[in-house]
């Protein structure tokens, strides 16, 4: 993954790939904040939890269609871990994105309430990230 900036970009769709990966890392940072509280590794802080949950929901509501041009998969550019299945006939990537959005809405309603509510919303939210990755990413290490 290129992390240095636009000048270092290479390969087809390099900017789109970098932008969507950045958006994913943004999600990872925010779910990390929530998970640390859920597991008791960090103290529950209602304001911080609400900020993280709202950031996740905002990311779910962004129009990201321009970041996923057809053909911008791992076969075209090895910097991406996106699978060609995203664009294949019968792809249910929209449903997977919808499941993430629904889980992010539930978390946004729960996170600032109390720790138990946050913990209750955690499973669906984490599962919605994993559900899409299971279907639509290829392993590259």
């Amino acid at each position: 993954m290129a992390t240095i900036g636009l000048a270092e970009e290479e390969g087809p769709f390099a900017n789109e790939i970098e932008a969507r990966q950045g958006l994913m890392v943004y999600r990872a940072i925010n779910i990390g904040t929530l998970a640390a509280m859920a597991k008791g590794e960090a103290e529950y802080d209602a304001a911080k939890a609400a900020t993280a949950a709202n950031a996740l929901l905002a990311s779910a509501n962004l129009d990201v269609s321009m970041l996923w041009p057809p053909g911008s998969d791992n076969a075209a550019n090895p910097d991406s871990t996106a699978s060609a299945a995203i664009w294949a006939d019968g792809s249910d990537i929209g449903a997977k994105a919808g499941a993430f959005k629904a889980a992010a809405e539930a978390m946004a309603a729960a996170a600032g309430t109390d720790l138990a509510s946050l913990q209750g919303a955690m499973g669906d939210l984490g599962g919605s990230c994993g559900g899409c990755h299971k279907a639509f990413r290829v392993p590259t290490n």
Binding site: A28, S83, V138, P139, N141
Partner: protein, 296 residues
């Protein structure tokens, strides 16, 4: 044409290595399970540790649908496409009529009730290390699952690989029951070794293959290309997997890496299985992974 010739050559080599005339499948003695009775409750843990649903259920199945073992999942390989059979307890289309010994011969010897060799895409090269008590428990559990009436589809494998007898030589070379990680281990590491090397069959994906398609034990768990697919299986020896034991155990439970990326592809299915294990078993797997020799 040249490809066909090469394939035939490999086949001839395999047959020669094993001795075509000798290729009577190996089986357990008929008395192997005497005095062992299966317990379905314990068998459920073995089922998840062994990852049977990842291949024999629909990969998109969730919840109880993972217990419908109708088969149908396709496994492309350089030798053709293998299709997972129905292993639900349906007497016509599945394994409803099988004894625990039949299952033990299939899982630990790669041999069918009719005496034919299975293809190693069914990971019996790992399950050979499973205890017969665990196999009997698993048999008891499988028989409690819903029967599904879908017939098994034939494999799409061409000559000469469609000749099951040719697998004898392969088994002779690669069907090994000794541990890869030998030496002094703590009880926790031994438990982890059992879960990784036997039931979890982690090496089947994470260990690179030799030219004939066997696991290269000298480069155990060091990763390699995905056969006939995109991407690579990661190296999970300590040379590359530098996470703490707690972080490894968490990944196996939730799929989240220390950076909150989450497992994709086939590993997501493995995580769905590992989530059913006890925290002690996941910790044991982590302890074992930290003990295997680092391979760059």
């Amino acid at each position: 044409m040249r490809r066909i010739f090469r394939a035939t050559l490999v086949f001839a080599l395999i047959a020669a290595a094993g001795g075509w005339w000798l290729s009577a499948p190996s089986r357990l003695p008929a008395s192997a399970l005497d005095g062992i009775s299966g317990n379905a409750t314990r068998g459920e843990k073995i089922f998840w540790a062994g990852g049977c649903a990842s291949c024999h259920a629909d990969p998109d199945a969730e919840g109880d649908d993972k217990l419908k073992l109708a088969g149908g999942q396709r496994f492309p390989s350089p030798f053709g496409t293998f299709i997972a059979p129905n292993i639900s307890p349906d007497p016509e289309n599945g394994v409803g009529g099988w004894s625990a010994l039949d299952l033990a011969n299939a899982m630990t010897r790669g041999t069918s009730p009719e005496g034919e060799h299975y293809y190693p895409v069914f990971p019996y090269t790992s399950y050979i290390k499973a205890s017969l008590q665990d196999v009997a428990d698993l048999h008891a559990f499988l028989m409690t699952l819903p029967p599904v009436a879908t017939p098994s589809a034939p494999h799409e494998v061409s000559f000469p690989f469609n000749i099951r007898r040719s697998l004898f030589g392969w088994k002779f070379l690669y069907l090994k029951s000794d541990w890869v990680l030998a030496g002094d281990l703590t009880p926790e590491e031994e438990r982890g070794r059992y879960l990784v090397e036997a039931l979890g069959h982690c090496g089947e994906c994470h260990t690179p293959r030799t030219a004939l398609g066997g696991m290269d034990r000298g480069r155990w768990l060091s990763g390699g290309p995905v056969p006939a697919g995109q991407g690579r299986f990661p190296n999970i020896t300590p040379a590359k997997l530098t996470w703490s034991a707690e972080e490894i155990a968490e990944y196996l439970k939730s799929g989240f890496t220390p950076d909150f990326d989450s497992a994709g592809g086939h590993m997501a299915l493995v995580v769905e299985n590992m989530a059913h294990l006890s925290p002690e078993d996941r910790a044991a797997i982590a302890a074992y992974l930290q003990k295997v020799p680092p391979v760059e």
